[in-house]
Symmetry: C2
């Protein structure tokens, strides 16, 4: 995104094709967060548990199922990744002994990913640190009102992208 460095747009301007100063400032800040926050969270998880954020997400989603089991396609959707990516990640997690694959008895096409006991520990163990990091970087910095605003702003942007309901109910 180009943000003009020079004097630029007069404060009152609202040509539809450009961003005014307030918008430009907000955009710069948001773009910074978009780059740095995922990197920071990934780094914390990598440091404390030797695992990527996506891998953690996969383990976490399995850990929330009563039987610690999910079909690949559904797990991919829950973790917000492609099926290919999930397949590769489950390969790795399987090799490290944190999940295993099982054939689905009710449908021979589908594969079930099951969280092992070691995998359960791998998700429970770093969770407090991960939550603490999210709290430290975000919520400790914001007022109550800003937390609510953040929720509303996020919802609106997600709605505009048509990505609101990524997580199907069941």
């Amino acid at each position: 995104m180009i943000v003009r460095r020079d004097a630029g747009t007069p404060a009152g301007s609202d040509e539809p094709g450009w961003l005014d100063q307030e918008e430009a400032h907000a955009w710069v800040a948001l773009a910074g967060v978009l780059v740095a926050l995922p990197a920071a969270l990934d780094a914390q998880l990598q440091r404390d548990a030797g695992i990527s954020h996506f891998e953690y997400q996969v383990l976490a989603m399995l850990s929330m199922e009563p039987d610690r089991t999910l079909r690949m396609t559904r797990l991919a959707a829950l973790a917000s990744g492609s099926l290919t990516r999930l397949s590769r990640v489950v390969d790795r997690l399987d090799k490290r002994g944190w999940v295993c694959r099982q054939p689905d008895p009710t449908d021979g096409r589908s594969t079930l990913a099951v969280l092992t006991d070691a995998g359960w520990e791998k998700v429970v163990d770093p969770a407090p640190g991960h939550v603490a990091e999210v709290r430290r970087l975000i919520f400790d910095q914001l007022t109550r009102g800003q937390v609510r605003q953040l929720h509303d702003i996020g919802k609106r942007v997600l709605r505009a992208m048509g990505t609101e309901g990524l997580v199907p109910p069941t």
Copy 2:
């Protein structure tokens, strides 16, 4: 990040180690934005200009220099990427004729990346569409007050990450 699906935390709770409901909702929304917004912006640029967001960033930073020239290290910092990554990207952009490398006459170690005329067009051409997409997905969805809140929230989070001043003045 684990967000409990069941009834969970009582509304007034503020155990330091967990997120209360408002925070959890805000976090879910933010996490969604963190995943979907970069993907959406990348997709738009890829569709309209056949270029990644990082490549665009590189061209855009060069386009803002008076002589369309930057040293590799500084360009990497401005585009928020590693030097290795930049080196590879400049390879590609060079092959496509949008930038070229020149030896720095004042320091034999450093390399100058220079934007060509074709590269200038490649950055000017998709800019309106890119800005329009940012406006459509974000600023058209928000009130004036929310734009200001977004700016403030972003600044606070960046400060907590120690990543506020990514762009050195000169």
